[in-house]
Symmetry: C2
Subunit: 294 residues, 2 copies
Amino acid sequence: MATRFALMIVPAAADDERTHFTDTFRSVDPKAPALSIGELSTQRGDGIFESIGVIDGHPQQVDAHLARLANSAAICELPLPNIAQWRQAIAEVVLHAERGESVVKLILSRGVEHGPMPTAWATLAPAPDFSAPRERGIRVVTLDRGYDSGVPERAPWLLLGAKTLSYAVNMAALREAHRRGADDAIFVTTDGFVLEAPTANLIVRQGDTFVTPAPTGGILHGTTQLAAFDYLAQQGFETRYEVIPTDSLAHVDAAWLVSSIRLAAPITAIDSVPIPADPALTHALNAYLLTPHD
Amino acid sequence: MATRFALMIVPAAADDERTHFTDTFRSVDPKAPALSIGELSTQRGDGIFESIGVIDGHPQQVDAHLARLANSAAICELPLPNIAQWRQAIAEVVLHAERGESVVKLILSRGVEHGPMPTAWATLAPAPDFSAPRERGIRVVTLDRGYDSGVPERAPWLLLGAKTLSYAVNMAALREAHRRGADDAIFVTTDGFVLEAPTANLIVRQGDTFVTPAPTGGILHGTTQLAAFDYLAQQGFETRYEVIPTDSLAHVDAAWLVSSIRLAAPITAIDSVPIPADPALTHALNAYLLTPHD
């Protein structure tokens, strides 16, 4: 959906204790040129981002998103974000949200080549209509991520666990899923464990326990997965972080891909094996996720 | 070095048989905003690129670079580039080169989100002074790329072999090399074979034979490596594409990282093990690479 509002941000140092950052913001026409061709985000995907769901103008789970942005910056050795500044930028862009669902995107790039500082911006756009995947569900395929489970710890330069702008592989995995007649993909390790989807986290149900792969090992810690676990715990279910063997996926009692904008999409089949549905729980979970919360 | 000239390009279809593409070019101020925040290159590193060396205004090995650009486009399912159009764009930007060494960069992005077509541009900048690494050599470390040798064939969605804009990992590997007191890195597989450097190819000497890792298996086929092999063959040496076990690196008779702009940088140490130098051959090889050729 077309971006409605865009704010360029001059990033402040993490320890800048100003209370107002308004003079570091500059709104720009989302369709007009705003970035120079020297941008390292564009030349090398060298930067990080967050996508935040907005419900009736309320940005969801801002703390969790900003904590993850800071974690991504640390992994990528970018200057740590000033949390107060980003919080004010989010507050500024959501003023342009209409009723219903929107999405705020935050981008922190390493900056212009040979330039003095990072480049940063925030945008607001209406969210796509995801009622079909939420209600009717999605078919997924498992795709080899090429890594064994030991790689993230062994090779931190592979930046697993950071939400970088280098998403060409994530986009290619979605194209491969579509080519196979599916809607989405689940990455798996070469040694037989489940990781995450290209732009979502997996939650599976085993009896009355809900499990997601441990967010060690280079899996992005999903903000929506955190919210879903909060809801499930409130309902008296057990929630756990565990390694999930790929071959156990055929035997789960239900499964969802959860992400900030599409929210909880129930999985109807994994590699063509039907997965049981739980429409009542899916509906209740999405109703919770669609309620403004922090 | 600061970009001297930038040309935005409206990409023509690969089969567009026009002879003149001048009206698809528009020069822009390299420092001024030229790209919108909806650019997928900047949001997702979703695009491909080439860096071409320019000697006294002559772009080196344009055919090989454009063939690789087309191959990257095919792997990434981008519209295939119109080779005649890119050739004219290169000819246009090199008009702004001074004597000595410059670099032309070509970028083909998937375009603006929800936009109708890819975005493309070409830039010209003076090349950095690489006389020190060419003459004094570089220290390198081997870094785990996380993949075994079978991954590129098994998982084409990982885009190995495409020169994509998603280079955050390549940049992180260079930072890791610097942290270890080295100048550059060589990626190796988890099953013990040599791949490539983050922005260069490896050539090793074993007696009178020169070997580079086979450009199957997800290694970018280096244009400068091709030129170096041409030169070495002219000198009566044998050249070969072969798998190179990582543990054989300690026993090579000489080694170089070769790339389009830095050209042949002799390796003086790999993981702190000294590598024999061949200053005469290195000098002759760089003299050849610095001679205008196609």
